[in-house]
């Protein structure tokens, strides 16, 4: 059975390698090329798809926890949800978490994921003390910011193209509640949205949901949600399992109208101006995890998420143009997520730079890639970049223009004989 990515597109045959010991992994690595590690399959596009896939998720042992400094040592296949399940009740939370907890620690490093607190805490690599990785020659090395810094900068955000991460030590942060005080700000247009982000940037967590189909004066209207943990001592956390989409919806189920209705309902239920709520970890950080297999609602042809970021000085103009282009195209998106990011880190392929990022889901259909190419032009014009973890179609040219360290990354791969050993469909397309 071939593995798919979260977007269910593309559907290509692949060979899946399982290993029990590092000796077994060593022979898989020495006997094969075009290998890519695969965690929980939550990357949207083709970054974890290749001819040969190494299944890392079964390697999910917790190794040690030091509660003096909150340092957790786990194998790479451990899910963030498992970390939360064990450690929120003891008053610990992830320093950095993306919008799903259903990813592996190895995947979090390989994508150098970020979350609602990027403007404060940066990317996932900020909480990584060190990790063990098997390189192209089969050797296992321990790597940190100071020990083998080049390997660290290539691997964090490197999409699995430097080797197989086996285990990692990550710092957790202290919390004293499973609840977050959330403030929701309903804005009327893009200008107000930007103003609100600036106004609330001292709060550690922030994200906005934008109605992409809004036009004219309402373009860029959003719900900005900001917040911080409460301090009420309630740590009675459990992973929620809720609804699940049992089968793939027919492709026509999601159309412009259903998206309009959803966005209207979502936006409409919140009162104008500023309101406050008390919400739990799952509601605040992982709203979509409550619906299992939500990727199936886009139908059997799958979907993609288009996520780009623009430098702050061009964000307003660029977003205005992109939102106009999307709105004119009439192609719907349930979720358009807007966020203000903090400074970029030194990793060669990490996505975040200081500015605004927008992420939108589109079902794969005729005309979509033409629209996205058109959006790419605007992104490139304003010196922005595309997020590889979500991408399934970006061109080499667009990609390269966004990532100035690309040559350093390529050279590192070549020097360490990784270029043929570790490849994904994406790495071949964008030439890394």
């Amino acid at each position: 059975m071939s593995l798919l990515s979260w977007g269910l597109y593309p559907q290509v045959a692949n060979k899946v390698f399982n290993f029990k010991t590092t000796t077994e992994l060593n022979s898989i690595v020495s006997d094969n090329d075009e290998l890519i590690p695969y965690g929980n399959g939550r990357s949207y596009g083709d970054s974890a798809l290749s001819k040969n896939i190494i299944n890392v998720k079964p390697h999910d042992y917790f190794i040690n926890f030091d509660d003096k400094d909150g340092l957790l040592h786990v194998q790479a296949g451990v899910l963030l949800s498992e970390v939360l399940e064990s450690f929120v009740p003891k008053g610990w939370f992830l320093k950095v978490t993306p919008g799903t907890k259903l990813i592996t620690v190895g995947g979090a490093i390989a994508s150098d994921v970020h979350g609602k607190n990027h403007h404060v805490e940066g990317c996932f690599s900020e909480c990584v003390k060190e990790f063990d990785i098997m390189l192209a020659d089969g050797n296992i090395v321990t790597c940190s910011k100071t020990k083998k810094p080049e390997l660290f900068k290539s691997t964090c955000g490197g999409q699995g193209l430097t080797g197989i991460i086996l285990s990692a030590k990550i710092y957790l942060k202290k919390i004293n509640s499973q609840y977050i005080t959330q403030t929701t700000i309903k804005t009327k247009n893009l200008k107000e949205t930007f103003k609100a982000f600036e106004e609330y940037k001292d709060l550690p967590y922030s994200v906005a949901w934008i109605d992409c189909l809004a036009k004219g004066e309402q373009l860029g209207k959003c719900l900005l949600m900001v917040g911080d943990f409460k301090d009420d001592g309630d740590l009675n956390y459990k992973n929620k399992t809720g609804l699940s989409i049992p089968f793939t919806f027919p492709s026509f189920a999601l159309n412009n109208l259903s998206v309009k209705v959803f966005n209207w309902l979502y936006y409409g239920k919140v009162k104008v101006g500023v309101s406050k709520q008390k919400v739990d970890i799952n509601t605040f950080f992982y709203p979509l995890d409550a619906i299992g297999h939500w990727n199936r609602i886009y139908g059997k042809n799958g979907f993609t998420q288009y996520q780009f970021i623009l430098p702050k000085e061009h964000s307003f103009e660029g977003l205005h143009q992109i939102l106009t282009a999307i709105s004119d195209s009439g192609k719907g998106s349930f979720l358009a997520v807007l966020k203000l990011y903090g400074k970029a880190n030194e990793n060669y392929l990490s996505f975040p730079i200081e500015g605004y990022s927008l992420a939108l889901d589109f079902k794969i259909e005729k005309g979509l890639f033409e629209l996205l190419d058109q959006l790419d032009e605007i992104v490139v014009k304003y010196n922005g970049r595309i997020y590889l973890t979500k991408d399934v179609r970006v061109s080499k040219e667009t990609f390269e223009k966004g990532y100035p360290h690309i040559e350093t990354f390529r050279k590192f791969r070549e020097d360490n004989k990784m270029s043929n050993k570790f490849q994904s469909l994406q790495s071949k397309r964008v030439g890394i």
Binding site: M1, N18, Y61, F62, I63, N64, E82, S86
Partner: protein, 243 residues
């Protein structure tokens, strides 16, 4: 402290089940042959849950030592889960009685030996639960695995009798009949995705059903209906089928 004894702890279903019980506040005895191989796994459980996790040496085929094994437990368990399973090779088993015997003894005789001892203790204490992991393969004999299937059928019948006997002593016995499960045992087989459970799903089904004193648990749930149909195919048709 409250221990659950997991017998056959090296199996993937056992490992997931132990995680489920540890997560829910139980201490765990992990019993298996060469149990030292479970050291990293046991460490994982204790880092995850801070429950007490103990490794115990037990050879399910070494019947004569089963009583001593149980007597040596400082603290008797609240409940026991047997996840012992050996699928074997049907083709070899048909040609070589030794293989047949190994399948039968591992899946049935050995489990009876240890459960007899535990059942007597639970009966005296008038408390405890016993979960026996059998298989849908025991519901009807098929040419592809009838030695394994018949051993599991015997186990299911044994558990049914035990449930009947221990009912008066407030000891609950649950029979688990997993269908296809993606484990080391089935690695390399081409299993239909919709009917195949992950070990974690089986574990959570077991935990939830045991807490509710379910008698017979099919997992995934649709296997109950699949097997109902399979059991009702008339023999004169069934004997011609290849399923």
């Amino acid at each position: 402290m409250s221990y659950v004894l997991i017998i056959g702890a090296k199996s993937d279903i056992a490992k997931s089940t132990a995680r489920e019980y540890a997560k829910n506040g139980y201490d765990i005895y992990l019993a298996a042959r060469n149990s030292a191989e479970l050291k990293d796994y046991a460490n994982d459980l204790s880092v995850r849950t801070e429950q007490n996790i103990k490794l115990l040496e037990l050879d399910i085929l070494d019947y004569k030592n089963h009583q001593k094994f149980y007597d040596d437990l400082d603290e008797k368990p609240l409940g026991v889960i047997t996840a012992v399973g050996y699928l074997g090779e049907q083709k070899d088993a048909a040609l070589d009685f030794k293989e047949s015997q190994k399948i039968i003894d591992t899946n049935y005789t050995g489990v009876v030996s240890i459960l007899n001892i535990i059942a007597n203790d639970f009966e005296t204490r008038k408390s405890g639960f016993i979960v026996g992991i059998s298989s849908v393969a025991g519901d009807r004999g098929r040419k592809s695995n009838y030695i394994y299937g018949s051993a599991k059928a015997a186990l299911s019948t044994y558990l049914s009798g035990l449930r009947n006997r221990l009912y008066e002593s407030s000891v609950h016995v649950m029979t688990v009949k997993p269908g296809f499960v993606a484990t080391a045992m089935t690695e390399g087989m081409d299993l239909p995705e919709k009917l195949t459970a992950q070990p974690e799903e089986v574990a959570s089904d077991i935990y939830n059903a045991q807490q509710k004193n379910v008698n017979i648990l099919y997992t995934k749930w649709m296997w109950k209906w699949v097997m109902l149909i399979i059991k009702h195919i008339p023999e004169f048709i069934f004997k011609k089928m290849s399923i």
